[in-house]
């Protein structure tokens, strides 16, 4: 321990002594439909990313279009435009990967860590169809690109501590980069105990523990061709879900890929990238830590996906084409075993996902046409063939209890179209886009069997006969600069036809003890979702800036009822100071009263809240490398609050002091 302290101290001293280097601030451009979050831990300031060791979830939450649904302190579910997982496609560097939990306790974002990624590309609405068919949008978690720049050995250490929950993070990464070969590896370990909400209220079952290691290596055959292999192994254990009746004893993912790059020079074809991939997920829900349950149960789930994509970039005249051909196959299987309180009765068993196979093949074409330096038109189309198959005979039979006709197989042809006009001038930016998209129901929506939703307290049954969900979309954004003052607006409107949602089936008894009843997935004729964000920033002086964002969201079905999980009026304001070696920010984050809640789907009126955060960052540059230190206080006033996106209104973290330290050895 003493040697460690000595090392760190001497590191600091050397850093102070040789501070020279400059970093550039990455400021989020809110007028871009395609939002990119930079996840490099080793930069002083990524806009609003105050912790270098944030989870991916934390990073995503900072994006304007993304809100995270929380069921605990781990594995948050991203939503875009008030639409959750089933209306989005989340991919890891173009690889399809699907959670293995029937209760959405393992969004894909929980199987990677910041150390695995370089950036996150967020495509709003139909702009996000590069990797699949979406309504709300697509998120692609980008792995680091291979580099052959001969920079040699590099290493880094990350240490983090947060007082609330006694949350410890340790990370280590090593890399060697030659001119023809590189290899890099990193590991990260996180462990948190139960956290406290405001007023020292301990939130039971909010603990988690996670290990993540990854290995990436590449070889460059020639100036134009290289190959890259990547393996990520992620294992979370003892994850508590305070908002749910069950926890997770294991969430494990192995994500592998092999990528070939071809970058011919001086040709119309700029790049050709082909990736083969395979990933497997095991997710085990259990309730052994809960002292009192109506009945003990085990709910394991598995999801295996393999596939490939081939992506080409072409530049010709004023056109920039992107072609992406992708094929994948997924197997989703989940089961539930309940152990009767009467030991003489045999265990109760069912398939909650009866081995559903999804085979998808599709083609994406995008053209970015530049009329001139200022104007461009981006158009894209995705065509896909989607096939679902129930591999277990008992799966089809069990669904026949609810649906008179259930076919083993279902084929769908899906289409997504989008077009956006962008105008960029010195003082203002403008964009306007239209889109049309279709999506197939998710495995749960199509084939789930008695999936308990603790939010509205109903058991859900899938419906294999659902129509495709279709959406018409319009979006608009505008940004204007007046010297040091900038104001921007962005807005999206979705008119969704055959909006998939659960319908109560009267007089059907729930399976889950204590549930109110059963809903079968069905569709509203149509639903409308609208959101608008207004943001402004003012640069007071060289280092000082102030910025603020307010948001308005709306979602209603054709029956006039509110849709669930629609964000209420929200606001965010930040006062920050920034130099190349130091930054500080005071943040105010809040939501208005959630008055347009959906009582039908288990929501109640979530009260307004506001919290204050204060954060600091220091960068020290030395001969050996650099040191990034981030520290601050979250929820300074120790408010006890929950937001509309907190499952069953369980309260969020109270006051928290944190410190993150990253050492990078060049």
């Amino acid at each position: 321990m003493r040697t460690l302290i000595t090392v760190i101290l001497s590191w600091f001293i050397s850093s102070f002594a040789f501070s020279q280097e400059e970093t550039k601030e990455t400021i989020k451009d809110t007028t871009k439909l395609k939002e990119v979050l930079v996840i490099s831990r080793h930069k002083l300031s990524n806009y609003r990313q105050e912790k270098t060791l944030s989870s991916i979830d934390d990073y995503l939450e900072k994006a304007i279009n993304v809100t995270m649904i929380k069921r605990g302190n781990y594995a948050w579910e991203p939503t875009m435009h008030n639409m959750a997982s089933e209306r989005m496609v989340v991919t890891i560097d173009g690889m399809q990967i699907f959670g293995a939990c029937t209760d959405k306790m393992d969004p894909i974002t929980s199987y990677v860590d910041v150390s695995n990624l370089e950036k996150v590309a967020i495509g709003s609405g139909q702009e996000g169809t590069e990797n699949g068919h979406v309504i709300g949008g697509g998120i692609d978690l980008k792995l680091p690109t291979s580099k052959f720049n001969g920079s040699g050995f590099k290493s880094g250490i990350d240490l983090g501590y947060e007082t609330n929950g006694n949350y410890k993070t340790t990370g280590l990464d090593l890399e060697y980069t030659g001119n023809k070969f590189f290899i890099s590896t990193d590991g990260i370990y996180r462990k948190s105990d139960n956290y406290d909400a405001g007023n020292n209220q301990e939130i039971l079952y909010s603990q988690f523990e996670k290990h993540n290691i990854s290995l990436q290596s590449g070889y460059k055959f020639s100036e134009t061709q290289s190959i890259d292999a990547n393996i990520i192994y992620d294992r979370a254990t003892d994850v508590g879900y305070p908002a749910l009746p069950m926890d997770v004893s294991l969430a494990e993912a192995l994500i592998t890929s092999l990528t070939h790059y071809y970058n011919p020079e001086d040709k119309a074809l700029k790049s050709l990238e082909t990736k083969l991939y395979f990933n497997t997920i095991t997710h085990i829900m259990d309730d052994t830590k809960r002292p009192i349950v109506p009945i003990r149960m085990d709910m394991p789930g598995w999801s295996d996906t393999f596939g490939f994509y081939s992506k080409a970039e072409l530049m010709k005249n004023k056109h920039h084409f992107t072609f992406n051909l992708n094929v994948f196959h997924n197997k989703s299987l989940a089961e539930m075993t309940m152990f009767s309180n009467n030991p003489n009765e045999s265990d109760m068993f069912m398939y909650t996902w009866p081995d559903i196979r999804t085979l998808y093949s599709g083609m994406f074409i995008k053209d970015e046409f530049h009329f001139n330096d200022n104007e461009s038109l981006v158009s894209s189309v995705r065509l896909g063939y989607h096939n679902n198959k129930i591999a277990k005979e008992v799966g089809a039979q069990s669904l026949q209890i609810f649906h008179p006709s259930v076919d083993d197989e279902k084929n769908r042809f899906l289409i997504s179209l989008a077009s956006a006009y962008q105008l960029k001038k010195e003082n203002y930016n403008l964009s306007f886009g239209l889109g049309y998209g279709e999506r197939a129901p998710s495995v749960s929506e199509g084939y789930g069997f008695y999936l308990f939703n603790s939010f509205d307290n109903y058991d859900y049954i899938g419906n294999p006969n659902l129509e495709d969900e279709k959406a018409l979309e319009a979006n608009f954004s505008f940004k204007q600069n007046f010297n040091d003052f900038e104001i921007g607006i962005q807005s999206s409107y979705f008119y969704i036809m055959d909006y998939i949602i659960g319908d109560i089936v009267p007089n059907v008894s729930s399976m889950t003890i204590g549930a109110q009843g059963v809903r079968v997935y069905n569709a509203l004729e149509h639903a409308s979702i609208f959101d608008m964000y207004l943001n402004s920033s003012y640069k007071i002086s060289e280092g000082f800036a102030i910025n603020a964002t307010v948001g308005y969201n709306y979602g209603k079905g054709n029956d006039g009822e509110n849709l669930p999980l629609v964000k209420p009026f929200s606001y965010f304001a930040e006062f920050n100071y920034y130099t190349s070696k130091f930054n500080a920010a005071l943040q105010l984050d809040g939501n208005g009263n959630q008055s347009n809640f959906s009582s039908q789907y288990g929501e109640n009126e979530t009260a307004a809240y506001a919290i204050l955060n204060l954060n600091f960052g220091n960068a020290f540059y030395g001969k050996l490398g650099k040191t990034i230190l981030k520290y601050g206080i979250e929820n300074i006033l120790d408010a006890n609050y929950s937001t509309y996106a907190d499952w069953n209104n369980f309260p969020r973290q109270g006051r928290n002091f944190y410190i993150n330290l990253s050492l990078v050895f060049n």
Binding site: M338, S340, S346, F349, Q397, Q400, I401
Partner: protein, 281 residues
């Protein structure tokens, strides 16, 4: 070097000789394949073999296959007529139980079949005897033998007094292999006319409400009431089972005038009907 040729040749010779042995024997079809022998009853020149799938009698519905062998010629008799009478000896009286006639199995030469529904037994399986009467070439024979009837784990048959002061016997016949699905449910309903006569009851209705007491009395949707099928004299309905485990099939028996003869609705206050069958898988 030659050894490697000799071995396969030797094998071929061995196997081909084996198969040629088989060819020489006239193929005999085992007509009771897949069935287990329950008991052999020897009656002078004949032997009666009793079979079913489990190889034992249990309370509830028993489908029974029989063969009748001529002990002298050691061949099975193909054109006999058979009937039977199971009897349970009680301390003060004796009674029989619902049963079918014995008929020749379609497509088989030597096998006869029928069913018996044992509504009760003693703990040790004792108490029952079976009398078989049969006619071969105009000659009548009869034999009685003690049989063992074991208690089935679950309640697969119910014997009860209806509100019309008639004693009824209800037995679960299908599903024999239940699955998480809409299962075809088949029951037999008989009334006790006297100690020895149990005729089929036709055109009543049996309502069905399957429940899982272990799961907070969870029920399943889209079950149908059981109705009488006069083609085979059984009652049929749809039974939805949403998971494996222990199911209590709560029933109500209604007569042709929709009068409830036995059973009650399951409600929050009333966990179970007094008329029920059990199923576990």
């Amino acid at each position: 070097m030659k050894f490697k040729y000799i071995v396969p040749i030797a094998f071929i010779a061995l196997f081909s000789s084996c198969s040629s042995d088989d060819d020489n024997i006239t193929p005999t079809v085992n007509e009771v394949e897949g069935l287990e022998l329950i008991q052999i009853i020897v009656n002078g020149e004949q032997t009666i073999e009793l079979y079913n799938e489990k190889g034992l009698f249990e309370t509830g519905y028993n489908m029974i296959s029989l063969r009748l062998k001529d002990n002298i010629t050691d061949t099975y008799i193909e054109d006999a007529t058979l009937s039977w009478m199971p009897v349970m000896q009680m301390p003060t009286m004796q009674h029989s139980c619902p049963k079918s006639n014995i008929t020749k199995v379609l497509g088989k030469d030597t096998v006869y079949e029928g069913f018996i529904i044992y509504q009760m037994t003693n703990e040790d399986g004792s108490g029952w005897s079976l009398t078989l009467n049969y006619t071969i070439d105009g000659v009548d024979y009869s034999v009685s033998e003690t049989i063992s009837v074991m208690q089935y784990d679950n309640q697969n048959t119910a014997s009860f007094m209806g509100s019309d002061d008639t004693r009824y016997i209800l037995a679960l016949i299908e599903p024999t292999d239940p699955s998480i699905a809409v299962n075809n449910m088949k029951v037999g309903l008989f009334k006790m006319e006297n100690m020895m006569t149990f005729p089929v009851v036709a055109d009543y209705i049996i309502t069905l409400d399957p429940r899982m007491p272990g799961m907070g009395n969870h029920s399943s949707p889209n079950n149908t009431d059981l109705t009488f099928n006069n083609a085979d004299n059984f009652y049929y309905g749809d039974l939805s089972l949403t998971m494996t485990g222990y199911w209590k099939l709560n029933l109500k028996l209604l007569d042709a005038n929709n009068e409830v003869l036995k059973g009650e609705d399951v409600t929050d206050e009333n966990e179970s009907s007094s008329l029920y069958l059990e199923l576990e898988f």
